[in-house]
Amino acid sequence: MHKIADVEIQHDIMVANKKLAQRNQRILDKANVFSVDVLGAIGSGKTSLIEFLIKKFDEKVGVIAGDVISKFDAGRFQQYNIPVVGLNTGKECHLDAHLVEHAMEDMPLEDIDLLFIENVGNLICPVDFDLGSHMRMVVISVSEGDDTVEKHPLIFKDADLVVINKIDIADAVDVDAEKMVNDVKCLNPDVKVIKSSLKIGDGLNEIINAIKGFRDSIS
């Protein structure tokens, strides 16, 4: 004889990721490492900005370079003789807390003070996955168009710092960078928004100060 049974599961996959993320953060806290999740579109300048920050921060920096094929970005970071873990996501469009947990196992946390986690270039999928970092920095560039923020609101809603990069070419691509700033402020009134250019050096010290300020505010 057979019977039909209702089996309650109530397993939220987002919550499961969140719990892993919290565990990642506890591991980072124990090692006194401040961590920044760097999110943004493909080609917005995430890798170049992290390279700049590696050179400018006095603290010992490590990088987890996440990408569909991570060896390109990881190779760029390795030239600075810092700990780098390349994290291949393969077919996946985002990092999640589980992948980062494994990458952290290969990162000598006791030897670093600051960990950048470069997410996969994507303004959509990473939104759903907290990694356990202390800070979320979203990097977009004017070349993505000044409606980028309106089209991808959620990633800006929870950001702790937003960088609008490549402002030196705003006129050339006919984009109003100020509109992008206002759109972010509309979604996230208290967030710091910095217009920057790695080419002409605009806003870069502000980015460093914003990361330091955020770290100090939570420590």
Binding site: I13, K91, C93, K157
Partner: protein, 123 residues
């Protein structure tokens, strides 16, 4: 395309529970998806249909329920549903329907919950 990783996680969760309950067949699965997640229910359903082949889930009906967005206004304290417009994702999280304040906390709408299954099992 993170529907695929989510679909894999859902299938694994369901098959684990079914096995623990000695299920011989899974009749249906109910999944709750928050309206603010970056998951497209139709893509998710398609992938679940592919992944369930040759498993206990093969004949199961996939039921997807939507969890609406609920916000709390940090200014006036309003708690509840927000402005909804399917053509504009932006409106839901942009302002309080009571006082127009923009500083909002999202209370619900970000879930991907495997709620329950109905199974056939021996007495």
């Amino acid at each position: 395309m993170h529907e695929l990783s989510m679909a894999n996680a859902i299938v694994k969760t369901v098959l684990d529970v079914a096995e623990k309950n000695q299920a011989e067949e899974i009749l249906d699965v109910t999944i709750e998806i928050g309206k603010l997640t970056m998951l497209n229910p139709e893509q998710l359903r398609f992938l679940l249909d592919v992944l369930k082949e040759d498993t206990l889930l093969e004949g199961a009906e996939i039921i997807i329920e939507e969890i609406p967005v609920e916000i709390k206004c940090r200014a006036c304290g309003y708690t509840g549903s927000t402005t909804l417009d399917d053509s504009d994702h932006y409106l839901m999280i942009v302002k309080c329907p009571d006082c127009d304040e923009r500083n909002l906390e999202i209370l619900s709408g970000q879930e991907c919950n495997v709620k329950n299954i109905r199974v056939e099992k021996p007495d």
